[in-house]
Symmetry: C2
Subunit: 310 residues, 2 copies
């Protein structure tokens, strides 16, 4: 669906600010608590919590992150799930979200309602109250930026830093071909898996995959090391090839480093009991820079998704 | 300064994503803590706090909220201060902020550096660590959305709801002519004043003024009441007239309802001791809808800043 209305009667400008905000509250329904805990005051109020807090922000922008072929319900759901994937990567659980919208005055009310209904359905599913937001106007723009607040699900938060030489490299799910398979809108953020992994002391570092393994894995690699992974080990999504698995991006899977001394077989067996439906693959290990096996993929030959290009 | 570079060598695209993020960390300097507490991981980590949390989000968008005449340092500072004003209006104090940027590939690095340096200076002044963010690309856009986290400064949070019939209407500072006087970039968010007001039990409701008193005051007005304020009482900013004081917007002052039984003289005297340099004005009171004095301004004849217009 195209985000701009064919005639001005169906646009956000026809409704005006006050009625639009009332409509947004209606569309969000039970996903949005009442003021002062939700929309309608200068700030939203969240209860105190004895846990460490996590915060992340990610946008969806037309036509960069979605186009007319993506149903607006999916756009709304994807916006929340992208952020939940970042939270999963630290072993966190969601607490609340706020949404900043930037809309052209011609933005279609039908499109916007579907966007909000998709966001609300996803917010209910993952128990994330949408507590506030802002609507601003800009010519030619349909963009939404969601800030997600979460908290540590357990005693430990797992960062990208901490992998050591020799650590095994594991990945959840499958990689590549996210767009043609619609994985980029149908994916389930790995919240339960991330929280479970954060409880395993052998998990040294973790992140989620958004720009492709070849690019993202750099952030997890210990100093003076390189990832030694073999092409045969890559869990290819249907229709994906090796290049796609390394560079397509939008996988929204977790990649993590497991201590070299860990019993991989026992770890995998425990995983299968906890998550019988989530595939887990050992891709290889972090090798000393001078000791990478000859059959390992040269990841420097692949580029993941690069932001800010001409 | 125009936000787009004259030649591609001076643009964000010439730098590329990785180097741009490194530059942003450099520009923010001490305003941005290290990962995992700041930029560089899937989420930023904030320490636990026993206080209720507050959250608000507001953007600045070119050319709607700033134009080539506004120095980029002021744009960065204004973005943070707009959000701090919302926090002040609840009686909160800041904890951390994240920034979502949307940039055209042609965005000037000089412009962006000045924007960040202005944001960083303001973040240091108001002690708001910039803990994370996101940079996305969109043609023709220069926009920044800041999400501010705060917490209750004291035992009490003041909302927009709670004013009663007969309550006095007070406002801090002066109103109108925000653009020509550059108040919209030089203003100081009323954080200390807001926290102090939240501790006064006679303060029934509070909000900040962003779209003009005529429009904003509606949100503070109790059911079946109308604000009874006289034009003579309005604290006009230099060059402002009555219409401007009611409708110009971007005042970033606090308006609040004080219990009708409160001793106004004593309250004003206590205020002057606490804030000798911040003007405080009683504008009038909330009258029953049928009992508005004849000399009161008919606020329905004035419109504040309306978002989402054609």
């Amino acid at each position: 669906m195209h985000p701009f209305a064919k005639n001005s009667a169906g646009s956000v400008a026809a409704l005006g600010e006050e009625k639009l905000i009332a409509a947004i509250r209606r569309w969000l329904g039970s996903a949005s608590p009442r003021a002062p805990f939700g929309i309608g005051d200068d700030c939203a109020v969240l209860p105190a919590s004895p846990l460490r807090r996590l915060i992340t922000v990610d946008p969806v922008i037309y036509p960069r992150h979605f186009n007319d072929a993506v149903p607006p319900r999916d756009v709304g759901a994807k916006l929340l799930k992208r952020n939940l994937s970042d939270l999963a990567a630290m072993g966190g659980r969601p607490a609340a979200a706020v949404l900043a919208l930037t809309l052209d005055a011609r933005t279609s009310l039908v499109w916007l309602e579907q966007f909000y209904r998709g966001l609300a359905a996803s917010a209910r599913k993952y128990r994330v109250p949408i507590v506030g937001g802002d609507v601003a106007q800009a010519d030619g723009t349909v963009a939404a930026s969601l800030t997600l607040l979460g908290e540590a699900a357990g005693a430990r938060i797992v960062t990208r830093t901490g992998a050591r030489r020799g650590d095994w490299i594991f990945v959840t799910g499958e990689l590549g071909a996210s767009l043609p398979t619609r994985h980029h809108v149908t994916f389930q953020p790995r919240l339960a898996e991330g929280a479970w992994l954060a409880r395993q002391s052998g998990v040294h570092a973790m992140m989620d995959l958004s720009d492709g393994l070849a690019k993202d894995l750099r952030a997890l690699t210990p100093p003076r090391c390189l990832p030694a992974i073999s092409a045969a080990a890559l869990p290819l999504r249907r229709t994906a090839d090796v290049r796609g698995a390394l560079t397509d991006g939008e996988d929204y899977e977790l990649v993590f480093a497991l201590a070299s001394r860990a019993d991989r077989e026992k770890f995998a067996a425990t995983w299968r009991r906890a998550f019988p439906r989530t595939r887990l693959t050992c891709l290889g290990h972090f090798a000393a820079a001078g000791a990478v096996p000859a059959d390992a993929i040269d990841l420097s030959a692949y580029r993941g998704y690069e932001h800010l290009q001409r």
